[in-house]
Symmetry: D2
Subunit: 461 residues, 4 copies
Amino acid sequence: MKYSENSCSDINICYIGGGSQGWAWKLMSDLYLEESLSGTVRLYDIDSKSAETNAIIGNIISGYEEAKGHWTYKSVSTLEEGLSGADFVIISITPGTFKEMFSDVHTPEKYGIYQPVGDTTGPGGIFRALRTIPMYEEIANSIKRYAKDAWAINYTNPMSICVATLYAVFPEIKAFGCCHEVFGAQRLLLMALKEFEGIEETDRHNLNTNVLGINHFTWINEASYKTYDLMPIYDRLVKKYYKDGICDKITDVHFMSKNLVKFDLYRRYGIIAAAGDRHLAEFVPDYARDKKTIAQWGFNLTPVNWRIENKAMLAKLSREYANKEKKVPITASGEEGVRQIKALLGLKDIITNVNLPNHNQMDCDEGIVVETNALFTKNSVRPLTAGKLPDEVNLIMSVHMNNQKAILKAGLEKKKKLAFAAFLNDPLVKNISISNAKALFNEMFSNTRQYLTGFDSIPIR
Amino acid sequence: MKYSENSCSDINICYIGGGSQGWAWKLMSDLYLEESLSGTVRLYDIDSKSAETNAIIGNIISGYEEAKGHWTYKSVSTLEEGLSGADFVIISITPGTFKEMFSDVHTPEKYGIYQPVGDTTGPGGIFRALRTIPMYEEIANSIKRYAKDAWAINYTNPMSICVATLYAVFPEIKAFGCCHEVFGAQRLLLMALKEFEGIEETDRHNLNTNVLGINHFTWINEASYKTYDLMPIYDRLVKKYYKDGICDKITDVHFMSKNLVKFDLYRRYGIIAAAGDRHLAEFVPDYARDKKTIAQWGFNLTPVNWRIENKAMLAKLSREYANKEKKVPITASGEEGVRQIKALLGLKDIITNVNLPNHNQMDCDEGIVVETNALFTKNSVRPLTAGKLPDEVNLIMSVHMNNQKAILKAGLEKKKKLAFAAFLNDPLVKNISISNAKALFNEMFSNTRQYLTGFDSIPIR
Amino acid sequence: MKYSENSCSDINICYIGGGSQGWAWKLMSDLYLEESLSGTVRLYDIDSKSAETNAIIGNIISGYEEAKGHWTYKSVSTLEEGLSGADFVIISITPGTFKEMFSDVHTPEKYGIYQPVGDTTGPGGIFRALRTIPMYEEIANSIKRYAKDAWAINYTNPMSICVATLYAVFPEIKAFGCCHEVFGAQRLLLMALKEFEGIEETDRHNLNTNVLGINHFTWINEASYKTYDLMPIYDRLVKKYYKDGICDKITDVHFMSKNLVKFDLYRRYGIIAAAGDRHLAEFVPDYARDKKTIAQWGFNLTPVNWRIENKAMLAKLSREYANKEKKVPITASGEEGVRQIKALLGLKDIITNVNLPNHNQMDCDEGIVVETNALFTKNSVRPLTAGKLPDEVNLIMSVHMNNQKAILKAGLEKKKKLAFAAFLNDPLVKNISISNAKALFNEMFSNTRQYLTGFDSIPIR
Amino acid sequence: MKYSENSCSDINICYIGGGSQGWAWKLMSDLYLEESLSGTVRLYDIDSKSAETNAIIGNIISGYEEAKGHWTYKSVSTLEEGLSGADFVIISITPGTFKEMFSDVHTPEKYGIYQPVGDTTGPGGIFRALRTIPMYEEIANSIKRYAKDAWAINYTNPMSICVATLYAVFPEIKAFGCCHEVFGAQRLLLMALKEFEGIEETDRHNLNTNVLGINHFTWINEASYKTYDLMPIYDRLVKKYYKDGICDKITDVHFMSKNLVKFDLYRRYGIIAAAGDRHLAEFVPDYARDKKTIAQWGFNLTPVNWRIENKAMLAKLSREYANKEKKVPITASGEEGVRQIKALLGLKDIITNVNLPNHNQMDCDEGIVVETNALFTKNSVRPLTAGKLPDEVNLIMSVHMNNQKAILKAGLEKKKKLAFAAFLNDPLVKNISISNAKALFNEMFSNTRQYLTGFDSIPIR
């Protein structure tokens, strides 16, 4: 890297999962828009074809006349090649294929368990975790070997388990996990500010929100904007909309939500749930009890078939971009990655929410991956102490934190019985009988078998 | 008290709940059989009639020629009178009436929740706790005022909450809780010793068993008898009987069990569950899913009507004893109370399992009431460090430990929302929808209203 | 209070110790210079004369034409009058008189113990603590009663004990302690930046420094300025100046230092000690071993006689200001108080170092008052997690943290033996024999007797 | 091993340091006297000659007609040979030679630091620890490899560091440390019982004493004998003898003590110090300030020259025993080793004090080696929770516990600066100037250089 006044060049970024047609394109846009940074992005993907295509697209974008940031994109064929000399590592992979994702989401439905997303907790989240852990063991070992001083940013789900695995394997790693779910709650705060105080603020970075919890089950217990305390203003928002709901963002129907779950949780516990309703409903029993209940709460399940079709559409788009049949549209992603990189280079301090192993930020066991605010300065990420959740929320939170530890251990040490104990302990599984739970676990295990090396094959009886 | 060589006289015992026709009679028998102790037992009961009758019965027993221990029984009409000058306090009360107990046990059945006992955990245990807490606040304050140096032994359920309340109100109290549920597992160990090693040992006190957990959800993870490791011997017992079961004790049909739950838990987790199946089935989801499942697991629900009839029978017996129409039969109760008193007087050291607030005996939060072994010597009860439960058991245990804390706080500070959060967090309640859970909570609250002073009346919505 | 855009009026500040001729005048200057704030300052002092004079001076200043901030100053005669309705409370008192201060500083010299300041740790700090605790108990109770929602800022030493007492008496208090000692280390960083990188930065607020430790024994383990890592730059400063020293500020000779202790500590432990050498030398044995050693390390002892003379000079100045014989000079104090008040009102977020009971910011027992960075936003002070000190420093730090707890307990519960045990445990006392330690303790106790109500009079034998 | 009723044969014991002329002979006597045990003792020593001679002596003893226990003694030449198949491992070695021991004890005297023993704490204890750690790393690795299921009993000093090293290297080891220093305090309790209650009890095992602390700085805070509370009786003993002292045992002049330190500590803190005065004086500053003070407190320093002469005498005796010139005298050693072995075999449960890494037995950091009571049963050592020391004692104890951790880390990770920081933090070193402390450290380092492999050679400056 080379520093000059207020900028930095020759930065090396390694992107693991660099064939992505979602996060990778967002990164390209954000780098295009950022004038203080330049360098090389090395794209690594087990689907090397996608990485190559993305390198072409990246270079096309970077070559646009209006580009403020200038980057070279290269596809690489090994982690060694990608990581050696990297200053930053971005990890955003799909663990397994649509086949396993289908099992995650739809096999539990046969047993009456509905998961709007199925990638974080619940039966789907647990199996996704078990197959992701060995992949992250390899990534952590590679970073340790080839890029031990690099900062690593994770976007993959299940976020908590991914970050926990990185630190379990390489405790000195400089990694954190980054997720945009909190931003939705911040958008609602901006809407409330406008509606009840008449203040038009569009930049959520101007809010102060104290974030605490675990990824996708995150909360805001203090919020202010300049001299305004936002908590009573949010209270007014909830009072007005808790019956009919309100959308904070226009999006694809599968990701749409009316925030009814969020408002209901506020009414129950008095603090702001800060993740999408589809995620929240997987942590707290009963919102996703059955299809009728789901409809009442105004969110949708995301069928994996939709994901398959969407992927095909993106692949087509990808070819069109690479062939220059279509111009790549550039919009700021709203993600924090590039802001974080700037801050770590010393170009502008920020406070933002990240996922890190607990070392004092919350009152829970050391090492549990929690999501709280942190101060980013030159080569430093320092969490704030996040305070306490209400006792009522902690009763639910504890179950998920204990499960996080158990799943990590089960995955690292190949303990199938422990994995099943965590599975049984998951609130979404508690509704069904234990014999059904065993059958479901064994069926999902069998569906995902290919990625669960090291576990014994004896079914849970 | 007066000490002479190997004995102690002029001991003052205050029995709170002294009108009891169960535990009080057991104490009388055990004192009758113990030659090293003598003194006075003061019986206090809000049902003063019963206390008076028991005083008559006690003095009859103590007057029998064969009596080894000589005691005077008196009924007293206030806690002050009972406690002033007491060396030991025994607490064994019925919190509320059969009306509330009926609500505890049978109201949840309307919602499909079955509780074999309903006095420890589950909806019944929670409401029983909420109404017991203020009673124990009064008892603790009275002990603090009138008998601060006395040792207090609690027998009342919910054990953990009762002991926790005593310490919350009067942290310097010398109290512990005493329960016989572990003894059943010890009887099974003796049976295994006989069946597989041909050794006829009848005294469970000769076993070494490491006890850990919480009351009625207690475990044994190490067991030996002289040079024998009992764990592999128990393993053989389970292998032989896990299908058909085996009884460790002849008892009334409502309390009968084949130990099938206990054996199943051993097969799942590799350690010995040390409480009756009827209790265990309230802690671990699914054994009491429905009546059919309960029948399959070979235990029974205890209808409150049976308790009402039994009580009437005992009342009749009580009158016959007092009128000397019937001679009071004397048998050693098998309980630990009198052994513990002897040990606390310095007459014979023992190690036995007791309930105490955690201060290092287990790896859980300070103050949670846990059940572990303790060494009893002259004026001292010192817990052993109990080690760790398997991770799989800890996932279940944590939920109950967290609920214990929440219920105690809800009861002491009259926090209804927190009580409901703990209610929802209980594994037995997780099976039903949240709207049903609210309805059930509100109905039980209303049924128990009389004893829940200080809580607001607004139903959970 | 009234908010308008970017400013706040009708603020009520209560100043306890408001007769001060140091901190009070600094506050007046800073308020004069700050255009976004206005309101009333109520001055309370047991020396009511001084408070009255200061009210006159304050109103004179506030009336100057150039004043940006407009404030009314009033003297009040009771804490109730001062605190009722206060939004902010500033506490800056002198505990006791010069007589006790003389004992603190000079009595130990008879036994060969030299303390450059004598107000924080060492024999002087301990006795000052013991007599300050009851004063702070009264203040905390008054805040609880009359101004429970106000923010309280403490400037009095011993800082840690003062803040700890406030929280011990009123755990919900919104108080923090504020000290300028860290700023000296930040000035050295600015000097290094200029000398080795040629960058002229004058505002220490533009540095990022991670602060951790306890008041006056505080450390910086990470420091950066924009894209510069300041740790290697500080290393160069130390290498250049560790022999001859360098001053970071022109000041009275008694407060002068060459930073030789600070540089030596850096050479020993590799991190930056962030307090004046005179304070540091009281925490780490041997720098103040004897007068010759003190001279070698380039700092000075502050004789109490100087303080007495200085006080007389200030009293004279005070009269001249009040009589308008002299114009009050206005300069920015460099203190954080007014910046903190602005931040708490939501006018501008800051990160600054403050003293607060530990709740996760450091790896030490809950409740020990530590000094770390905190984020100040609207009505919120949220500490950052501060990370770990080197093991070598922790060995010394632990002794002082343990002593802090012991002295607080001794003072609150009037435990003389515990106070003496802490006294013996202090590194400055370890050099002398135990019989001398007893004699010194008893002599200092006797000198300070008037303020040590509640302690028994029996000398330590 | 073979079990028959109430006895066990074919036991394999490996004795590391088996050439010992102290502990080894004690073991031989105790085994001779114990009829329920028999088997083989394999003696390993780096001085193979001594081990061979001891094998001869052992077999002579075992062949005596009156021998109740029959054992075969063999010398072995490698740890592998000694450990393979071992059921028990006894470790009792001399770390280094008299040359290093001379440096431990006498080099500090040049700087005015007196250590009566010099093997536990203080400069001597620290350097002895640093050179013992690598030896124990080798032993722990060998046990892990060749005898992972064996129970290991350590007698070597510094006890805490030896036990800590075993667990640091092989966390699953079944090891504990065994020391007789507590027995002296128990003898005093028996003396008090006789003097003030007229009860002649000779067996200290009949006392109940709650032990807590760290090795050689151990305390008794509860003591009873049958129905007697011994604490007030000990109080009377102290009141009577604190001026003139009293001996609990006839012994060589160098080990003699009048218990004046012990009595003084009781008067200061109200609990019983349970180690010899010579050890206690190394933990608490000032008792060993100078030769005159030492004389006043009635204990003696042990010159290494005496140890050298004594060793020569023992070597001569050894040859005479082996040649049958002299008959080996048999007396019960009073040590706990053989009782512990019996208990671990399930032959008789005991409670005794042992050194183990803290896992809940005390309120200090996990892993610090503490000395508390433990229950020994079949294949199980389970510590009791030991409760709390008085705050005053904890202030001193913390320093030593922190130093234990620091020295262990310094020794395992070869951190010389950390070793010096712990050295400086030791109360015995606090009396001298830092430049003298550096000189002393460097001199002792140089004297012990041969055993301090892995450390850099640069002197502390």
